[in-house]
Symmetry: C2
Subunit: 293 residues, 2 copies
């Protein structure tokens, strides 16, 4: 890990950017992420390694001729910072730029559309910090068209079937929805938790999360330092994963003091076996093995 | 050129950082520049590609345990920007940080010690911008110790000889300084001019400069665009070099629209043959050929 924090989460056709450390735009380009697909940026906290890449990205969007809205969700202060830097450079955006500043100390909904919700996860760091819980909504059921035709159901009722409703035929027979539709794909969820001291309360906010990213700045051997700097150890991250009932744990944000990141996986795996390591440029496809069970 | 502007100038034991675009600290690390040797940073203007790496560098200096003073010389506003970002992150430096804000519209002295001077070079860009002229002071003459002993001159007078003074012997004979000392090494100078529209007045401010770095964002075929965006063409940069009597010209800040940067050298060389191309990670040693004539 030589680069500061930034993650791209592709979920239900969205491309969410989570945190934006210095150099994020270089990494986005390197990994061929289409800038135009990013419409929402979520910033956990205002430490440089999580947001000093944001002003540059906002300017680059302009140079790329962006016309679409850009929404930035982050702690109070993010608007003042970005607008001051734009003002000093006389570099106002020519696309609509919206700031959604967060001040809540409890978990709140910060984004919702027909496909996903995003809630904050209040964390415990040296400055005001939120993680984010991204949840897919359950998609509509899939019509079993052959079965529907078999029962002679008119097309006009197909949307009702997708919405999970039973159908009453003209003869009064009730056709159970399960007979004429398939289950929708399971709704997945992703929790991003960085930076934070060990905070057991996180687990109850992300119950049964599909994939949990939790910072592990230190190993348990440096637990005292973790407390002092309000960071977590790999073991503590694994405890959160276990307590929350997460399916998978992804670690990251390793201190540069460690020559190798493998011990993080080893340490966490003793408590939570399905642990993976985030690293520069690494991507995880939750539709593929080993994430599909 | 994939990275924004930043240059390190090593001159008379100083390591000056000139501009600090996003990602500069990564490049410094990559090219093994010792962070602790940087004590003065000169910022030309407050566009992101020239200063968005500064807040992160200031924070990194702290994490590296810096104790020495850091001096930042740049346009009014640089202090407000850096201190706001430090404040938002509650990341105050634990080393003395001094801002020297520049507002002058004429060339002014912004740094001086016993070895070098730094003057601003007012440029013509979309926002307030200065280039910088770094000049070595003429070093003391080197004592010709054998000649001094030949004339029986006492050690007490050696400093006077280094200072260029003639010596009067006890018998009244005057020994010309040239007979008992060597010329000091030639004082070199470096002018940094980015970003700027073609501004002929620059030449008179940097008369006989040793090496001139001048931006060449465009080729002459895009001269109209250069005027519109207040940048220069390679040919215009070469004109400044020729008019100033510079010994060498280094081009940089090429627009990403060009697939190759070689045409910049070709275009400039028709007017000023001793033209070189700056690029990511390229260094020029002015003590080595082809700079030594």
């Amino acid at each position: 890990m030589t680069n500061p924090t930034a993650q791209v989460l592709e979920i239900r056709n969205h491309m969410f950017l989570i945190d934006c450390g210095e150099g994020t735009q270089v990494q986005l380009r390197k990994h061929k992420i289409k800038f135009s697909r990013i419409n929402h940026i979520f910033i956990s906290h205002l430490h440089g390694d999580h947001f000093f890449g944001l002003p540059g990205l906002v300017v680059t969007f302009r140079l790329l001729g962006r016309k679409k809205e850009l929404h930035i969700h982050g702690p109070k202060g993010v608007k003042e910072a970005v607008t001051l830097l734009l003002k000093l450079g006389d570099s106002w955006t020519n696309y609509p730029l919206y700031f959604h500043e967060i001040t809540a100390k409890t978990s709140v909904l910060v984004y919702e559309d027909e496909k996903v919700t995003v809630h904050t996860i209040p964390l415990d760091h040296r400055i005001y910090t939120n993680g984010f819980l991204f949840q897919e909504k359950l998609a509509a059921r899939t019509l079993n068209i052959k079965a529907a035709e078999f029962y002679g159901i008119d097309k006009a009722y197909f949307q009702n079937i997708k919405n999970g409703k039973d159908i009453i035929l003209e003869n009064g027979d009730v056709i159970s929805n399960k007979k004429i539709s398939y289950n929708p794909p399971a709704a997945k969820s992703y929790a991003f938790c960085s930076d934070t001291a060990y905070k057991p309360e996180i687990a109850s906010l992300i119950k049964n999360v599909f994939a949990l990213y939790h910072e592990a700045t230190f190993l348990e051997s440096e637990a005292t330092l973790a407390v002092k700097t309000k960071h977590s150890t790999a073991k503590q991250a694994a405890s959160i994963a276990k307590e929350s009932g997460a399916h998978f744990l992804i670690l990251g944000h390793y201190s540069t003091r460690y020559g190798s990141i493998l011990p993080f996986k080893e340490e966490a795996s003793t408590i939570f076996p399905k642990t993976y390591l985030a690293d520069d440029g690494v991507s995880f496809d939750f539709e593929l093995a080993p994430f599909v069970e």
